[in-house]
């Protein structure tokens, strides 16, 4: 597939936003269970939510560029929510604003410091805990929706795997927790170890699932062949003409247009940027509470995710390419 930058930014931005929210909410849950000291609503949770919102809204903004024309946002994008019964894309489009709204609400409640003893128990922040729980469900629904957009296309065999859902989810969470670690170093250094530990854990988990998918994809045997594509049973078939010579949508949309060597180097770049560097920086950063190192871990991981997402698209071999061998 031809990697579309709108989608690369969309998925990575919202991944960070979702992950960051989950980190915040995890912290709040821990605090509620008195496992960790309570943080200031306004300074920490509201600011953190705002940061998550920035990423989510940036992702939404990036998605606009995936529309045929930006003007479609006004004229017809609202329709995109209508097919949630069948379309994972439609579901994503439902969940993104929902998550944005919920994270906004979560942050707002923290900012305003509103409280209500909903369950008649002695736990602070019940209102935000309830909203946070709902938001968490939506965040996971969004992860699944986003990933299923790709995983649901069964003939894109590189994508059609539960690993795709795991990767999107874990990479999003990992990047969110890495950002949370850096955020903690800025706002509440005491939490660096907490977030940093989880960030390392999620990064390692993502490394596991992403590596698993790399191994799976390297061994993939494509079901469609030139034989099934044109229905001729012969071991030696070659395309000699595509029906057009100046290119078409089919030659532009489904192929990255780069060499195999380029693809391979992108793979190593993302493995280093997403996993190796952040793990090292996180490990050192936790020990030293260094904002610089931890911020560096996040920047590396985020940049790496851009490469990872590019690679994710480029590696997917669309069966339509059997008909368009750029002859």
């Amino acid at each position: 597939m031809h990697p579309a930058f709108s989608v690369i930014f969309l998925t990575t931005f919202i991944g960070v936003g979702q992950g960051l929210f989950l980190a915040l909410f995890t912290l709040q849950s821990y605090s509620a269970l008195e496992l960790l000291p309570v943080q200031d609503s306004r300074e920490f949770f509201a600011a953190g939510s705002f940061l998550a919102l920035l990423f989510l809204v940036a992702g939404l903004g990036a998605s606009v560029f995936h529309l045929g024309k930006p003007s479609f946002v006004i004229t017809r994008a609202w329709r995109a929510a209508s097919q949630w019964r069948t379309s994972w894309l439609s579901r994503e489009i439902v969940f993104i604003p929902a998550v944005i709204a919920l994270v906004f609400l979560y942050g707002l409640l923290h900012y305003l410091g509103w409280e209500a003893n909903l369950f008649d128990v002695d736990i602070a922040g019940q209102l935000t805990l309830v909203i946070g729980t709902v938001t968490t469900l939506f965040v996971f629904a969004l992860f699944v929706s986003t990933a299923m957009i790709y995983a649901a296309i069964k003939f894109l065999q590189e994508w059609a795997s539960p690993l795709t859902v795991l990767n999107y989810t874990l990479l999003g969470i990992a990047s969110g927790f890495t950002l949370a670690t850096a955020f903690a170093a800025w706002e509440a250094p005491i939490l660096v170890n907490f977030f940093g530990g989880w960030a390392i854990l999620f990064t390692l988990a993502a490394l596991g699932t992403r590596t698993a998918s790399l191994i799976r994809n390297a061994r993939i045997k494509h079901k469609s062949t030139l034989q099934t594509a044109i229905g001729v049973r012969h071991s030696h078939i070659e395309q000699k003409a595509m029906g057009m010579m100046g290119g078409s949508f089919n030659t532009r949309e489904y192929f990255h247009g780069k060499t195999a060597a380029f693809l391979k180097s992108v793979k190593w770049i993302f493995l280093v940027l997403v996993f190796a560097i952040p793990l090292v920086l996180l490990a050192i950063g936790i020990g030293t509470d260094s904002l610089g190192l931890l911020a560096g871990a996040f920047v590396s991981q985020y940049l790496g995710l851009l490469f990872e997402r590019w690679y994710f698209f480029a590696q997917a071999n669309h069966p339509q390419n059997l008909y368009y061998q750029t002859i």
């Binding site: 070659e238 000699k240 010579m245």
Partner: protein
């Protein structure tokens, strides 16, 4: 759809019928316009030729109509600029006519042969020829000489008819169809329709071709053959068919000269001629029935077609005066004796077993699957037949056979093969289309000498004709050519379509003489229509020691900014086919069907763009201004208002009742074929799908060479002069007459000494195989491969690169070659490479193919363009990646004993030997520029052409108002 588009759909819609011209096939089309713009062009379901279908080109007529390459104003080369620079200034038609009138009138009054008119695939040869003849110049021809004249001449000199316009395979009833050397443009939709029907009816389709594309793709069997060796295959098939007795004896005896006795007395001036028992009372262009058979019962000679006679086809006899004689079939048998399948296998690359099997398939299918139709008919000898029978083996061939210097004999061999299988004008075989069959050879003749070209007078004869013997040649008393292209001279005696491909070179060299004005209509002579293109471009621009152009004045009439336009001194903008009146006339190349004559017309669907004028109008105007007889009253006043008026009222002779159109003649349109002019003829065509079809009675539809009823009908309706039988020339006396002259055995015209051997060799009354001339004169070690071109179905020659839709399909071209051939040379699939002949070289891109014979490389013809031509951007793929093979093909043979500047053509007919070129291939260097070579200075956009839009959103009714 946008709101603007929605409002456009409310535009006024009109539907008109006319005739397509996106290629030379001439399908009926129905054109819908909306708001004055073409909405849709569909095949006319009520048209006999295409019955509603349409091809890729026809469906893209819109993009031709609105192409920015359209010329719209007359142009004059800017003073001080060179030809080829394409620096023009627009002028008015008045000025253009003024220039033409002054120049041409002077030439006509002094030396009319100084004016030469050569035309492309124009479908109006009856008019252009009429103009040339009455101007008085012998220097006229259309593109046939570099197209497929071998096919016309080889077949017409053998069976009195030919493929495409003049006849074709009866695939409705054939069981076996053999297609040889056919590119996809000949014949287009009717062939596609027939092929599909044929296959669905269970017919077996064999394609013989070095390349498997288009039609060959759906063949049941592909027989790859080395280019230029088809003659060897035909002769070996004939060998096997005769050897196994699979020929149609009855047919050969009755309907060919196979049983006629040939005089073999070497001392006699009649050596090699048929023995005649009496001198015919009347001479004409027909075969008098005065020959002899050797009767089996009486064991003595007998007049042919004597009722009850049964002659020998084989044997060796002596007449009572001691003259040794043999039936011509015996001579054919002796001729093909050495042409065994094993012999042909080495030459053609086809295994001997395959050749044998093909021969058996043909012979057995012809013999055992005979068709009998309950149609009673009478032959010219008065024999009544209860039925029409046929042998269902059909053939079709075209340029793959024709465009070789041995093509004439190859095609004679094929025609003979078709004849010995008994398939001429019979169901399931080959069938004629009116006005064919015609006598062998047909009657028209050119003048015979320079005295027939007279100042201020029409030419004394036709500019093109059909020589029947050496005295019909158009030569001076030294045997030298009178025509600029040397047609009808000893160099190419039967060059019945002229040699357009040598006109520029000859005129540039002044051999046989210099001319003053060359008018080229619709032919791209500085690009794909010329061999040796690069040098021809230089010749067009070459000046003598006085600084005068060697070809002093060059006029180009064309609809598009072609490569040729760049070289013009005067450009005349022609209309598109949707803007003009035209006729597909019985006097020219009509669109007849097997069942009877058909002609058709074009009528304008949209008004002419800018100042475009149909070229016919230009000719009528010039003819009137120059006071040429057909266009002028006795008092010198203008006879015809315009072209439609000319078509309506012109008659071949006063009161002949024969004009350009055969339908709705007579004052009220009540007559057909023959009748007085009808003032409302155009309207009647318009009302009737623009086509006139006359269906002959069933009994006239077959065996027309010998069908009394048909021949009498044809004579009465002015199709033929005589109603005499047209027997198949298995053995060609016409050729023998030239050979006798070369041997010095005749009293008439004699070839110049340097050509005697050539004439003696190539004017063999029986077909023989020889390696193509260029090949004979090439170092085959150094140039081991054959290079040929194929025509894609979605692009007609050079016409369509300006077409925004079609050029997306064929944007540039590759050289296709077998992987083994490529790998041996170190050439990669898709890589840059050189193809080089002894004449020149071209850099291009390679494409591996398993569908090409490994000794052959090929490319699509005329996709490559000169930068800037056809109003394409200079960076367009056509110019940067596309290439033209013509650069490696020469228009003249290397100097050899027969002459220094002989045309690279068939020695009999002057057919351009496009496919004879030998090449080698090698990879381009890693540091070489990745663009095709040669490159030319980009042609600028000429005044009057359209804006080259960066993008298009065609929507009929709003396009011209809004786009790019």
């Amino acid at each position: 759809m946008s709101d603007k588009a929605k409002s456009a759909t409310e535009g006024r819609t009109e539907v008109k019928n006319t005739t397509c011209y996106m290629c030379a096939c001439r399908c009926g089309i129905r054109v819908t316009t909306r708001g004055g713009e073409v909405r849709y062009i569909q095949g006319n379901p009520d048209h006999p030729l295409n019955k509603g279908v349409i091809c890729a080109k026809g469906s893209s007529g819109i993009m031709k109509q609105y192409s920015p390459a359209r010329l719209t104003r007359p142009l004059k080369r800017k003073p001080g600029t060179d030809r080829g620079d394409a620096q023009f200034e627009p002028i008015s038609w008045d000025e253009a006519y003024g220039i033409l009138e002054e120049r041409l009138a002077h030439i006509r009054e002094t030396d009319p042969k100084k004016f030469a008119l050569f035309t492309g695939r124009d479908q109006m040869q009856a008019l252009t020829g009429l103009f040339a003849k009455n101007f008085g110049t012998p220097n006229y021809a259309a593109h046939g000489g570099f197209c497929s004249v071998n096919m016309a001449a080889g077949m017409i000199y053998t069976i009195g008819g030919s493929f495409w316009e003049f006849g074709g395979p009866d695939l409705d009833r054939a069981k076996l169809f053999v297609m040889i050397g056919t590119a996809e443009d000949h014949h287009s939709n009717p062939m596609k329709m027939a092929l599909s029907k044929f296959k669905r009816n269970g017919g077996r389709f064999i394609s013989v071709n070095p390349v498997r594309t288009g039609y060959s793709a759906i063949a049941d069997e592909w027989v790859p053959i080395k280019p230029g060796t088809d003659g060897a295959l035909m002769l070996a098939l004939t060998h096997e068919i005769i050897k196994t007795g699979l020929y149609d004896r009855e047919f050969l005896i009755q309907y060919s000269n196979a049983a006629e006795l040939v005089n073999l007395n070497e001392e006699s001036p009649e050596h090699g001629m048929f023995v005649r028992f009496e001198v015919p009372p009347e001479e004409g262009c027909f075969d008098p029935q005065n020959k002899l058979w050797w009767d089996r019962e009486l064991n003595k000679p007998i007049s042919t077609h004597t009722p009850g006679a049964d002659p020998y086809l084989l044997g060796d006899f002596r007449l009572s005066d001691g003259t040794p004689v043999k039936p011509s079939f015996q001579l054919l048998k002796e001729r093909v004796e050495e042409y065994t399948p094993e012999w042909a296998a080495d030459i053609t690359g086809i295994p001997a077993e395959t050749i044998r099997r093909l021969a058996h398939e043909m012979g057995i299918t012809a013999r055992d699957e005979k068709i009998e139709l309950p149609i009673a008919w009478t032959d010219t000898w008065g024999n009544e037949h209860k039925s029409v029978t046929g042998n269902p083996v059909a053939f079709h061939a075209m340029r793959g056979l024709a465009a070789h210097s041995n093509g004439f004999h190859t095609i004679r061999a094929m025609s003979i093969l078709m004849s010995i299988l008994g398939t001429i004008d019979r169901p399931g075989g080959f069938r004629h289309k009116a006005p064919f069959p015609r006598p062998i050879p047909p009657c028209p003749k050119t003048p015979r000498g320079p005295e027939d070209v007279r100042a201020g007078e029409p030419l004394n004869g036709m500019p093109l004709g059909w020589p029947a013997d050496p005295d019909d040649l158009f030569v001076d008393d030294k045997g030298q050519p009178v025509r600029i292209d040397k047609a009808f001279s000893w160099e190419h005696p039967l060059s019945v379509h002229g040699l357009m491909h040598n006109v520029i070179t000859n005129a540039w060299r002044g051999d046989p003489y210099s001319i003053d004005t060359l008018l080229i209509f619709m032919s791209n002579m500085s690009w794909n229509s010329s061999m040796n293109t690069d040098k021809v471009r230089k010749m067009l621009n070459d000046k003598d020691e006085n600084g005068e152009y060697k070809i002093p004045f060059l006029i180009v009439a064309d609809a598009f900014q072609s490569e040729m336009v760049a070289y013009a001194d005067l450009v005349l903008p022609d209309t598109s086919y949707l803007e003009r009146h035209d006729v597909m006339s019985m006097l020219d190349r009509p669109i007849s069907e097997f069942e009877g004559p058909v002609d058709s017309v074009r009528i304008p669907v949209v008004p002419p763009k800018g100042e475009c004028k149909p070229f016919q109008e230009v000719l009528i105007e010039l003819g009137s201004r120059l006071k040429l007889p057909p266009f002028t009253h006795e008092d010198g006043s203008r006879k015809f208002r315009d072209y439609p008026d000319f078509i309506t009222n012109f008659e071949t002779a006063p009161g002949s009742g024969i004009g350009f159109l055969a339908g709705w003649r007579g004052k009220g349109g009540e007559k057909s074929i023959r009748g007085e002019p009808n003032p409302n003829q155009w309207e009647m065509y318009a009302k009737n799908n623009c086509v006139f079809q006359h269906e002959l009675p069933k009994s006239y539809q077959y065996m027309r060479n010998w069908n009394q009823g048909y021949l009498q009908w044809a004579q009465e309706h002015g199709m033929t002069r005589y109603a005499e039988p047209i027997n198949v020339h298995i053995y060609s006396e016409v050729l023998q007459k030239f050979r006798l002259a070369a041997q010095g055995k005749t009293q008439g015209k004699q070839p110049p000494d340097n050509l005697r051997r050539r004439i003696d060799l190539f004017f063999d009354p029986l077909p023989f195989y020889f390696e193509p001339l260029e090949s004979q004169l090439s170092d085959k070690q150094a140039y081991p491969l054959n290079a040929i071109t194929q025509r894609p179905m979605a692009m007609y020659h050079s016409w369509d690169s300006q077409n925004a839709w079609l050029r997306q399909i064929h944007t540039y071209n590759f050289l296709h070659l077998h992987p083994k051939t490529a790998e041996a040379a170190g050439i990669q699939d898709g890589g840059w490479m050189w193809v080089e002949s002894m004449h020149g070289q071209v850099r291009c891109m390679a494409r591996y193919s398993e569908a090409v014979e490994p000794g052959t490389v090929w490319t699509w013809n005329a996709i490559g363009k000169a930068a800037g031509a056809w109003n394409l951007d200079a960076k367009a793929n056509e110019a940067q990646q596309g290439f033209l093979l013509n650069h490696v093909i020469a228009e003249e043979l290397p100097a050899h004993d027969a002459g220094k500047h002989l045309s690279n053509s068939d020695p009999v007919t002057g057919q351009a030997g496009w496919y004879d070129v030998r090449v080698r291939v090698y990879p381009a260097g890693p540091d070489e520029e990745q663009v095709s070579w040669p490159q030319f200075k980009p042609m600028p956009q000429v005044p009057g052409t359209g804006e080259r839009r960066p993008w298009l959103n065609y929507f009929a009714g709003m396009f011209e108002k809004k786009s790019g």
